[in-house]
Symmetry: C2
DNA sequence: CCGAATCCTCCTGGATACTG
DNA sequence: CAGTATCCAGGAGGATTCGG
């Protein structure tokens, strides 16, 4: 439930996920990272391959605003902040999986079409 | 199969469809327009509420490049061009419907969360 | 450790006008 | 009818630096 995230968990994902997109550039990956339990800011940074703090903060704030996740700050030293999915955020996993299923089934065709267009 | 498109067919759709997005801004709507059969350039412009020719052309070209639709030009006067979905394009309808289902079920929660954030 | 502040660049999408 | 050509504004995403 709280094993460390694999820094390479998105290594197999193509740079462009295809036509099906959830939220902005990072939303879907953040949801995947939180699927197995709450995570800290720095934990999220690792698998998200060099995302800058500003962009990660912006994405998390937007998702919090939309009720997709909650932010909990513990008043400790050193500071600790945890992000966790809400039920609403978790409900996005279903359409996300539909998108991933499409990609697995058809993304190769799309890539091929794009390549043969470049050739022609 | 070839009845004229309702110019208001997207009137009920909220300006922002929510977190689930297919392709770029217009891709999903274009697919909906072509679902019931091939359509001409001008036919598509009507329900897409004032999309400029340049943007519609760009979207159609991108979708043609990706193998989502075909473009057929008939050498007549006046000129006639028809756009039709490919099987690959049609395969996107399934994840699209999943996204629409999510919106119908949860978009209100998201909007509400966003509003109460603004208030707080 | 968890950000905020500032500055910058690219890309999407659009307005407007014109053409075979 | 079905586009093309040109110009332009806004916002997403990023680099870098600084603070509590």
């Amino acid at each position: 439930m709280s094993e460390p995230l694999d820094p390479d968990m998105f290594a197999g994902c193509p740079p462009v996920t295809g036509p099906v997109r959830i939220g902005d550039k990072w939303t879907a990956k953040i949801i995947r990272c939180l699927e197995s339990g709450p995570r800290r800011f720095t934990e999220l940074q690792a698998p998200l391959r060099g995302i800058t703090p500003k962009v990660l903060t912006a994405s998390l704030r937007a998702m919090e605003r939309d009720g997709l996740l909650t932010r909990t700050a513990y008043d400790e030293i050193p500071p600790r902040v945890e992000y966790a999915l809400t039920d609403l955020g978790r409900s996005l996993i279903e359409p996300m999986n539909a998108g991933c299923a499409w990609s697995r089934a058809h993304l190769a065709e799309l890539t091929e079409a794009r390549a043969s267009w470049q050739a022609g």
